[in-house]
């Protein structure tokens, strides 16, 4: 990264350790979801099933695919450290398993991001210890249960 921007890592923004299994799996390039084994409903982040409570929640590997549900392009640096990134695209991805995931969209011009665009996870190695998911246009373009 160029400039003085401090790169945030998951531990900097996590309120506690409940999502730690997700971030640890990212190092192995696995995109986990928190799934209720009673009904199969998938959640992100760590959640409690609205129908079955917490007892049967399990972390399971998801597809890492979905579509852009809504998005914005950021033209103003709300943090001075983000000045070298603008304009950048922020999107809410509706994962194929159902949950929403907030991310930026990389791998295309921010102006090309559109509602309904198929996207998939790409892995960004922030350093030797830290890998985070980002999303990019999906060249296959079709839902894939993987």
């Amino acid at each position: 990264m160029s400039g003085p921007r401090r790169v945030l890592r998951p531990a900097d923004v996590a309120p506690d350790d409940l999502d730690a299994p997700f971030w640890e799996a990212c190092r192995e390039q696995r995109f986990l979801l928190h799934v209720c084994s009673a009904c199969g409903r998938a959640y992100w982040p760590a959640s409690t099933c609205i129908d079955h409570g917490s007892v049967r929640m399990r972390w399971q590997t998801g597809s890492g695919r979905g579509e852009v549900h809504t998005h914005t392009v950021v033209h103003h640096a709300y943090d001075p450290g983000l000045a070298d990134r603008i304009p950048y695209a922020i999107a809410v991805v509706r994962l194929d398993e159902g949950p929403f995931f907030h991310t930026d969209i990389v791998g295309c011009d921010p102006a090309e991001v559109a509602v309904g665009m198929r996207v998939h996870v790409v892995w960004d190695h922030l350093d030797d210890e830290t890998v985070i998911p980002r999303f990019a246009p999906d060249p296959t373009g079709v839902p894939d249960d993987g």
């Binding site: 809504t70 914005t72 950021v74």
Partner: protein, 389 residues
């Protein structure tokens, strides 16, 4: 008038509003102190008459010592822009349960000086709150979260930047003739809106409110007691709440602007009136899309038609529903949820000046707040205010 625990039984007896503006150079608690004294004077009450205190600024824990109050309770509430209406609702609840007879709800903040402390201990503007994992990707502030809803509305209904601009222009026209607003004497055109810089697409600079400093105090008591006081009571006809988490679970959260339906149903049900009875609307409006989506959700226009409705003049003084007649947050001042509360009160008190709606009998006030960094806001509140009959 319908029966019920709330409707017609409680009133705002005193309203205190300090100067509202950018870099007033005064500490927040000094603004709260002045707003309290203005409200007491408005009601013809003294400090000793106040037996309940509800603070609505996150830094307000130590307020009552500075304010010189001796209430039976003092609590603080925080649910973003819904807090203002919630504070009045909780004042009513305190009176109903015998905790107090005369409750003051106090707001005062000075964010433009750069020293505002937030609930999490950090300092910064109202517009740069950030939460949780979306921060990893540069997701900061209410502009981005509201833009996600605006984008869906544009996608689903064909709403345009010009429609958003029509909101900004209409509200600036109101503010331009209301002294004490940030838009006073400064009308804008749609061309100026379109020429303003993009901030978070689709929002341009003139689609966004800005922080201002100021204090507001509202004194709540029974209608009977309010009738014996100095100013005419503004009667609380109904209050309702809704929470957007319901729509999160169904996946509709970005297609809706908060969970307005239950909030409206409760408030209108208590009041025993419907949307056609509303003479003036004061809608929480940090961004232009908020007005368009709320006009639809409350039923002032059909779903998806909020943009054309505003562009056709529906929210102007001579329109179907005069809206944000004080300029709103966009062009009036940003006292979080108290911006709309103040304008609703001013309208039913007949104090709207150049933008007073003639014979305004019923005002609808809304508030929403607490975006949590993932969608526009979680909490919504609706309040209907009326003239004492």
């Amino acid at each position: 008038m319908s029966t019920g625990a709330v409707s017609g039984r409680f009133a705002v007896a005193g309203l205190g509003v300090t100067a509202q503006g950018v870099r007033l150079g005064r500490p927040a608690r000094d603004l709260r102190r002045e707003s309290l004294e203005l409200a007491l004077a408005d009601a013809g009450l003294t400090r000793r008459d106040i037996d309940g205190y509800i603070g609505t600024s996150s830094e307000a824990f130590d307020d009552i010592r500075h304010l010189g109050l001796a209430p039976g309770f003092a609590w603080t509430m925080q649910s973003g822009g819904a807090t203002a209406i919630w504070s009045l609702l909780n004042a009513i609840g305190a009176i109903l349960t015998g905790q107090a007879t005369t409750v003051v709800c106090v707001y005062g903040a000075a964010p433009t000086g750069g020293r505002m402390a937030r609930a999490d201990g950090s300092r910064g503007s109202f517009g740069s709150f950030a939460y949780g994992y979306p921060r990893l990707y540069g997701m900061i502030g209410a502009g981005m979260t509201h833009a996600l809803h605006a984008r869906r509305h544009m996608h689903r209904y064909g709403t345009t930047s010009q429609h958003l601009g029509a909101v900004a222009v209409a509200q600036r026209a109101h503010a331009a003739v209301r002294p004490g607003t940030i838009g006073y004497g400064a009308p804008i055109t749609l061309e100026e809106h379109q020429a303003s810089r993009l901030v978070v697409d689709p929002f341009r600079l003139l689609d966004c409110c800005r922080d201002t400093d100021g204090g507001v105090a509202v004194i709540v008591t029974s209608v009977e007691r309010a009738r014996d006081l100095r100013s005419a009571p503004a009667v609380v006809l109904g209050v309702g709440t809704g929470h957007n988490m319901r729509n999160w679970w169904t996946g509709e959260v970005y297609d809706l602007h908060d969970d307005i339906a239950p909030a409206a149903a409760t408030a209108f049900g208590q009041a025993g009136i419907d949307v056609d009875d509303v003479d003036v609307a004061a809608l929480y409006d940090p961004f232009t899309i908020s007005v368009i989506m709320q006009l639809e959700a409350y039923g002032f226009c059909p779903e998806g038609e909020g943009g054309p409705f505003v562009a056709a003049g529906g929210t102007r003084l001579d329109g179907a529903i005069p809206t944000n007649t004080g300029g709103g947050q966009l062009s009036g001042f940003y006292a979080t949820g108290f911006t709309a509360v103040v304008e609703g009160l001013r309208q039913v008190r007949g104090e709207g000046g150049a933008t007073q709606v003639p014979d305004a009998q019923v005002a609808l006030v809304s508030g929403h707040g607490g975006n949590g960094g993932v969608q526009n806001t979680w909490a919504h509140a609706t309040m209907l205010l009326g003239v004492d009959r």
